[in-house]
Symmetry: C2
Subunit: 333 residues, 2 copies
């Protein structure tokens, strides 16, 4: 294992310290317990708090700022944060209208955010993200996993919260976006967790993992490596099958297409994947009206990519388009 | 070699097509010859045209848009674009005040941009970037290589051009920024050029390449892998030595610190590098007043990073801060 680290113990603290300094205009990093808040706390709005294991950067701390999150609680690499982190963060960012937790559906995250919720002295609600259509249950999951679609949930709910909307309205929008979003990932290589010091799984030069999770969890099956169009075709087919019922009941065919790098995939390949996915989604009668391409939800240093489709409606489109000003996503102001 | 491609012949075209569709609000992609322009051509300003081999994305096409480039000419992976590309791009984006080429100092790029310049029917000038302080001459270079500091040159010159400044003024600013900028890179792994199908160089699990180029060219020396603080310390020392004379003559100690991923390095590690570099630069009496961390000038899928320091003055700081709206860099509007 070769990584730019000093020790696995110091990695999270040193990295968060650098993150806080590089974006001191936007965020403030706190330690013991570890959490990150906006540099300037917001007033009179639902406070949106997310978090999860580290190793998925820029998720979640990279999405703190106007129009998105109020705080994020980073655990150690691929390890859930603990309830004291969520409680400390909530105490700082609560702005009179309650706390909304956005939690990716992994057993440890769900349990620890639930424990924090039970102790919260504020109104609170939770949105669980579960956009990964690859598998139902998985290594760390009962039910579907939350992956890159989480970014879309956080963006839209964060936008609604800025308008002064209620906790209940924010929760409803989060659940709606999640229900209208499907993702699937493909790994060409494993990731390497620093504390483990070796790849999470073995994969040969002639194989790929279809439906991989963002911690290197198994997907649907190990398959033969082949040309991108064929891989992307299978991903798009899985997504369309997953969204079939909603698509049949929708009049709008507008979608947001997110092509996400898992950490070690060149942007040039991500745009090639986008090209093929866009063609296939267009052939299926869909209209790609919004796009995002890049490393938005990573699996440390995994070579791989995921494709996410969100079925837009007027409300979701409006909240996607609204201004956002965070370290990793910024437009409109 | 496992990559998301269909064929090495189709890679550039398919990737550029996806890029053009994903950012149709900002850019327009042209083929035969290949070049990328702004979606809405600018008026009455110096047109800034860059380009070079592909594989360094988002450099250069990702920097097309308001406040930065007017056009970019992508060659095949790690291969110079040809003069017909520059001529076609210049014809489309010329807006009455001349053409400024921004060219990274590699023999093929320099030769082909020079050939294009000789045939241009417009006023023209060139800025050569040469911020890499690792080595003087290299595989593809007479003189120093242009690397991630090119992004800073393109941002500042692009900003000045929007004000209606003259071709000469834009060239002077580009040369000034380049002279006040130093970079050095470190590779933990090689990159793999798709058409070659195998890693450009061999490196063991216990080694790093100090001073690597963005095509995998040799750096200063092969060294033992070690902790990040020691690696970053050597990088910062090289940069400070390179900028020594300017620093001694400057009253301002304000700098821009860019920590750049070469393609396969997790953001978490880049922020850790930033943390160490910031500490060392602070210890040297410098004030980091601007920061950028992420994949801005890549070497395909290389695990590695580079550190760039630009010595700010009021003019450079103003042009760095000004609004920019491109696929890869966006703020202020």
């Amino acid at each position: 294992m070769k990584k730019f680290i000093n020790s696995t113990d110091a990695l999270l603290k040193e990295s968060l310290t650098g993150f806080g300094q590089a974006h001191a205009d936007l965020v403030q990093v706190h330690f013991e317990p570890a959490y990150v808040t906006r540099a300037k706390p917001a007033q009179n709005k639902v406070a949106i708090v997310s978090g999860g294991g580290s190793g998925h950067e820029p998720l979640h701390a990279g999405y703190i700022g106007y129009g998105m999150l109020d705080a994020a609680c980073p655990g150690q690499v691929f390890t859930s944060p603990t309830p004291d982190q969520m409680l400390a963060a909530a105490e700082v960012v609560h702005a009179g209208k309650g706390i909304l937790f956005i939690v990716k559906n992994y057993a440890g995250d769900v349990m620890n955010f639930e424990m924090a919720a039970e102790m919260l002295p504020f109104d609170h609600a939770t949105v669980l993200t579960s956009d990964d259509c690859a598998v139902i249950n998985s290594t760390y999951t009962t039910g579907r996993r939350g992956v890159a679609g989480t970014v879309i949930v956080e963006k839209c709910v964060g936008s609604l919260a800025e308008t002064g909307a209620s906790l209940h309205a924010c929760q409803l929008l989060g659940n709606k976006v999640n229900a209208r979003t499907a993702s699937i990932g493909v790994a060409l290589t494993s990731c390497t967790v620093p504390a483990a010091g070796r790849p999470t799984f073995d994969i040969s030069d002639s194989e790929l993992e279809m439906g991989v999770g963002i911690h290197g969890e198994p997907g649907r099956r190990r398959e033969a490596m082949r040309e991108a169009d064929s891989i992307v075709g299978d991903c798009v087919a899985a997504i369309l099958a997953d969204l079939k019922t909603t698509l049949e009941n929708d009049t709008s065919k507008d979608i947001l297409l997110l092509v996400n790098g898992l950490g070690a995939t060149p942007l040039m390949e991500l745009y090639l994947i986008y090209n093929t996915a866009a063609k296939l989604l267009g052939d299926a009668g869909l209209n790609i009206s919004r796009s995002l391409v890049g490393n938005y939800t990573t699996a440390i240093d995994m070579a791989g990519a995921s494709i996410t489709v969100c079925l837009l409606d007027d409300e979701i489109r409006q909240h996607w388009d609204s201004p956002v000003h965070t370290p990793a996503l910024r437009w409109g102001r």
